[in-house]
Subunit: 94 residues, 2 copies
Amino acid sequence: MQLLGKRWTGLILYQLLSGPQRFSEIESALPISGRLLSERLKDLEKEGLVNRQVYPDVPVRVEYSLTEKGKALEPVIKEIQLWADQWIEFDNKA
Amino acid sequence: MQLLGKRWTGLILYQLLSGPQRFSEIESALPISGRLLSERLKDLEKEGLVNRQVYPDVPVRVEYSLTEKGKALEPVIKEIQLWADQWIEFDNKA
């Protein structure tokens, strides 16, 4: 469960809510280094939240997608975002 | 935001959803050491999620309660719990 609090995990999950994506697509969508993104994706895979699919194209194609367990986090991610929009925004202006 | 992922934070917030409580009440409700509970409460106070109220009784009485910002996390905590009930439970039996 601590994984959910790790920096970038929520944003990576949120990014994958819009469907399977390649590493480069996720990397370009988020202000995160390739090394850290790769580390977080491995964590998420180990926790059974993300699935890594390798396609034998030439060159080989690798796609990441949410598992059922990962997709089930959608309400959590959305509530965190609603809360952050209201309270984190408020803190910056205060 | 990483604070939400830290071990015990969610359970402390969940515990305080039922209203203001003294340190000893929180400590007895959760399998957590006094030192760690005190550390987490300080973190939560710094983030503006928890309020620490000192009453000038004899002996002095200290109560912890959720701020508005803390209470606004209720939907997040409830969704995490729903998810954990379904998926974390499932993992243990598999």
